[in-house]
Amino acid sequence: MTRRVLDSWSQPLALTTARSDDGRVEFQLSSNSLGLQVERVCIDARGGRISQLLQFADSDSFHRWCDASGLSASEPHLFDRLMRASLVACAQS
């Protein structure tokens, strides 16, 4: 399998971006008129690039989503970065 990572454009990473250690998953957070907007980008096992753009009414609903995803167990470092990024993004609203 060709090894692909998120060679994305934000170097250095913005405070509202959280990326996994292996560079294969990245979250970009921003506030908008509806609440918190989150884009989750990842490289899947087939080498495809997948992006999901999601809307959360507030940080609580975002944290519930994170809990349900199991990220804190599977990717604890990324989870910590994501929590910090969400604080920054929510503070910008």
Binding site: D7, S8, N32, V38, G48, R49, I50, Q52, L53, W65
Partner: protein, 259 residues
């Protein structure tokens, strides 16, 4: 602003065709006034309610290119579904996307064949997140054979997309899907241009590279030296922050710059 209240799934029919047209006209005016990607989800929610649906997803899929597949999706529904969607196989097992890749005519989910177990599992999961009845509206991207878009509109009512108003609804939904998908691609391209400072000339260079032209061939066609074109490519890679031309092409394609 919060999303407008959903129509009552048990009682609401599709909107009156006149209202639907007026709403769509207003909606198209709004998206034409901005390229601000931060408003993407706001626009998707507006389109959803304008068309009398409760939930929706908009996707754009780039496939069959050397730089790899790219699937982007935005959701106007409970975000928990995104986790389920991934768990159940993502776009590879998505029967709605599969349909949109081969057709341009909108279709209701009950009209779709569901041949595989994986596809059935994905649509069953969607049902629990408000996509009980669904209209899949393909949004072909111009002349591009590599990219397809789709708008999926859903309701928890099993018969929402039926009745006398459906033909007009289908017509309006088709227009909204095409316009919204096109707006998304253009906004992504504009955002990338603004972020990187790539010029129109460099965009043309990217297109040549994506077409497989060598440095020598590009130089010959432009009446420039190979060294000059090589230097332009180096500058382009620097702007995109990537080490090679393959990744430069991937970012450009992914963001709608080559469509």
């Amino acid at each position: 602003m919060s999303p407008a209240p959903n129509p009552d799934p048990q009682t609401a029919d599709l909107p009156d065709p006149e209202h639907c047209l007026d709403c769509a006209r207003d909606f198209l005016g709004r998206i034409q006034a901005t390229n601000d990607l931060r408003r993407s989800l706001e626009f998707l929610w507006q389109a959803t309610h304008c068309l009398g649906a409760e939930v929706a997803l908009l996707a754009t899929y780039l496939h069959g290119v050397e730089s790899g597949d790219s699937f982007r999706m935005m959701l106007a529904c409970d975000p928990q579904w995104s986790t389920e969607y991934e768990r159940l196989g993502s776009y590879v097992c998505d029967p709605w996307l599969s349909y949109a890749m081969r057709h341009s005519e909108p279709i209701r989910s009950f009209e779709l064949p569901m041949p595989t177990h994986a596809e059935r599992a994905l649509t069953a999961s969607a049902e629990t997140f408000g996509f009980r009845s669904v209209v899949i509206v393909p949004a072909p991207a111009g002349a591009s054979r590599s990219r397809v878009g789709m708008l999926c509109l859903g309701s928890s009512s099993p018969h929402r997309f039926e009745g006398a108003a459906y033909p007009t609804f289908k017509l309006v939904a088709r227009g909204v899907a095409m316009e919204l998908h096109e707006w998304w691609l253009q906004s992504m391209a504009q955002a990338l241009l603004a972020r990187t400072g790539i010029t129109e000339r460099e965009r043309g260079l990217l297109s040549r590279l994506a077409a497989g032209d060598s440095t020598k061939a590009i130089a010959r066609a432009a009446g420039q030296s190979t060294a000059a074109v090589h230097s332009q490519i180096q500058r382009l890679k620097g702007k995109l922050g990537v080490p090679d031309r393959r990744q430069a092409i991937r970012i450009a394609a992914d963001n709608g710059l080559l469509d």
